[in-house]
Amino acid sequence: MTAGDWQVVGFTLRVAALSTILIAPLGIAMAWLLARRNWPGKSLVETIVTLPLVLPPVATGLLLLKLVGRRGPLGQLLERAGIDLVFTWRAVVLAMMAMSFPLLVRGCRVAFEEVNLRFEQVARTLGASDWRIFLTITMPLATRGIVGGLVLAFARAIGEFGATIVVAGDIPGQTTTLALAIYDRTQLGNDAAAYRFLGIAAAVAFAALWTSEAFLRRRGNAR
């Protein structure tokens, strides 16, 4: 492993972690709203949230590019604020966020739905506010599922390729992630390096999925 290889691994882990942290509050809130509340437009929001799961990642990347590119509605705002996004590490984080958000929401939603409603009802009759119930009953009982969802989102972020290459490109030392590195080493015929990255990506993905499954398996007492 060269210093450049380690840089790719470190960069990928850092941006994937940042992406997961950034989507966590909204993802958990969205999952709770979908699991516990009925509101107008719920199914539309649900569909939009799920869309990146079924759209080709490159298409999601293109949508993001239209949105945050120089001429995009968000891009203009960002430019005025002096923030460069496209083809920077920030775009890598954005692509990872968009692609892993649906997985996080799905995981957390199932976790919330598995918490027996009776616990929340009884807590209400004991005088607890909605917020207290969420913090003291729902969240603790859903924690394992939520952590499982977060780990899955993190793993998905690490493997992200299609959307990233469209909005962030593959700029060595700046936006190259593990997945992009595997691709370009293969393209360059540097199979040894590609396999090294492949091994690292597989190990990280394995560890993440194994952790996630372990959390999901131990989620017995919420029912």
């Binding site: 009802q121 209400r124 009759t125």
Partner: protein, 218 residues
């Protein structure tokens, strides 16, 4: 205690719960077959299932009306569901303290004799112990009314008399009025002075327990 249910309507999956009654006994039985709407009636009184019409009034406090719906957390009506719904991630004492809001819990613990269980995890308790913890947890809020959904269901026969004796103590020492849901007339004989019989969401009989279900109170 005086609970007025005036033309209370709650749509359920297969029929409407539609109830008018004035209940004022220390303990009132709600009797009926499975699926008659008994649990839904308790949930409505507790404020967990807003009615689509009618009035729910307890001791002069309007809880449900055309314009009013007092949320469950402001009603001070305690609810012990059939499965107890003890919070599985909390110990016995933390379950009981959940609704205490700082007030002492000793009396509630004493009346159901669970002093020795306080440090236990609720998932390690027997069925009878869980029921007693659920009762103590319900009592710490000093409820105006205690709703009991099939409190003896799933417990071994020999335990029935013991749990019933705790309920009688609660009724007499704490002076908490209760609605007691069951499909077993023998249980009512031991605790309820007055009984309402529900069928398909409607009250079909109502009166002294002995007259309604044909068994003399103990």
């Amino acid at each position: 205690m005086k609970l007025e249910l005036d033309d209370v309507r709650v749509p359920l999956a297969h029929f409407d719960l539609h109830v008018t009654a004035q209940l004022s006994s220390a303990a009132t039985g709600i009797f009926g077959a499975s699926g008659a709407g008994k649990t839904s009636l308790l949930e409505t009184v507790a404020g967990l299932r807003p009615p689509h019409g009618g009035r729910v009034v307890l001791d002069g406090n309007v809880f449900d009306d055309r314009r009013v719906h007092v949320p469950a957390r402001h009603r001070r009506i305690a609810y012990v569901p059939q499965d107890n719904a003890l919070f599985p991630h909390l110990s016995v004492i933390h379950n009981i303290r959940y609704g205490a809001n700082g007030s002492p819990i000793d009396e509630c613990v004493r009346v159901v004799e669970i002093e020795h269980l306080l440090a236990r995890r609720v998932t390690t308790l027997s069925g009878g112990e869980q029921k007693r913890v659920a009762l103590a947890r319900a009592l710490v809020t000093s409820p105006r009314l205690l709703l009991l959904d099939e409190p003896l269901a799933g417990l071994d026969r020999p335990l029935h008399a013991r749990i019933l004796s705790y309920l009688q103590r609660i009724r007499d020492e704490f002076r908490v009025a209760m609605l007691y849901v069951t499909h077993d007339p023998e249980e009512l004989a031991g605790i309820a002075d007055e009984t309402v019989v529900l069928e398909q969401g409607k009250i079909v009989r109502m009166g002294r327990t002995a007259d309604v279900v044909g068994i003399r109170p103990a």
